[in-house]
Symmetry: C2
Subunit: 237 residues, 2 copies
């Protein structure tokens, strides 16, 4: 009974901003809500890429490993894959791609899952470094991050487009991660040039946010919307 | 199979701000997602109060009527009622009530449904006046609104508390409507003094937003988050 008509998100991007990095959902439970998606692990430990029902962690040391069902995440977005658009990509770089996709597939005010499978002339990622409590803020924790790059890499970009109105609850605009086919390269996508690739888009009418309302730190935090907006623009672009 | 663990919202408060007042969900479909809630009708036509599976419209002329299944709404929030808190209310006015409820039931970062049944020493409401296309903005449309008041009125307050992070998607903070037991008085709640009343609260981990992604005006609109924030604070408080 996989519902393909909504995005399920655990937590908010906003809760990462003051440093609420403790995992509050298990990977096992998360995967009951989707087979594809992105996130981060307990302690802001790397970048999570979920493809075909398997969750992978791109670590700050450059390694990629599969995540066990009992590991936890403070933030993740998932959906069950059933694209409604499948097309070759003409844009060669990320900036052109984002502009074209929003225009051609009328994403401006719509949630959508983005998946690109192909060969990339160049690809560049970064990986959030694992934090220890007491946690720094997101901006402090991500001030220096290891970056990784490759040439002529086969792999998959996966992530989401969200309307700007939902900035704070999630990342307004694009939020994309990458995993190479050989699992030698992964992380938060910083840029790419395409050799040849196929784009899949899945539009959603529904966005469901699941909040960690039993987590004491979450209940107590005094969030500030302006701080969250600025921090997301700094840490997640 | 009524899911009592989430709020279902059709549309966003944000889409009302530039004047997207056309109804995009039928009352019949809305009631499949909840038996309790609030909203507005096509054309910003009054205030909607949903109690015990019936949807009512408080009109600008002061009349209250039940809404038919084929009438449409641009914005509404509903849930299936199953309160986890039931308590007498000690606060006598709305400002004290809101402060106490957020503190006592730890709502700050949590979605919750609020229901108050009782007798009100005074109660004051306002009702948005019906608009005709081409629509004005929300602030323009609600610049002058009829207000209604009563003394020693029996009735029900129903609505929601939402975390401030979701301002724009919905109203951050409280958004409450009122309907008297005799259906002679209703609308958006502006203030009350309690004689005796019982409070019911239902905490939610999940908030699901359903967007009108087949509506041309919605797809085309260029929303601005700051404008939306200011307009909600002006029109919905």
């Amino acid at each position: 009974m996989a519902a393909t008509d909504k995005i399920f998100q655990h937590g908010t991007l906003g809760l990462l901003v003051p440093g609420l990095f403790d995992g509050t959902i298990t990977a096992g439970e998360l995967l009951t809500h989707g087979d594809t998606g992105i996130g981060t692990l307990d302690g802001l430990n790397g970048e999570v890429i979920i493809i075909n029902g398997h969750a992978y962690q791109a670590r700050e040391d450059g390694q990629v490993r599969e995540i066990a069902a009992d590991e936890t995440l403070p933030f993740a977005s998932v959906h069950f894959e059933k694209p409604d658009i499948s097309a070759p990509i003409e844009a060669t770089n990320q900036a052109d791609f984002e502009t074209q996709v929003v225009r051609d597939y009328r994403l401006r005010n719509v949630f959508a899952a983005i998946r690109i499978d192909g060969t990339f002339k160049t690809i560049k990622t970064r990986v959030a470094p694992r934090q220890q409590p007491p946690y720094k803020t997101l901006v402090q924790a991500t001030a220096t991050q290891p970056e990784f790059s490759g040439e002529h890499v086969q792999g998959t970009i996966v992530g989401y487009y969200a309307p700007q109105l939902f900035q704070g609850a999630t990342v307004g605009g694009f939020h994309l991660h990458f995993l190479s086919q050989d699992h030698q390269l992964g992380g938060h996508l910083l840029g790419f040039e395409i050799e040849q690739a196929e784009l899949k888009i899945q539009h959603f009418a529904d966005f469901q946010v699941h909040l960690p309302i039993d987590n004491e730190a979450y209940l107590q935090e005094e969030f500030d919307n302006e701080t969250i907006d600025h921090a997301i623009n700094k840490a997640e672009r």
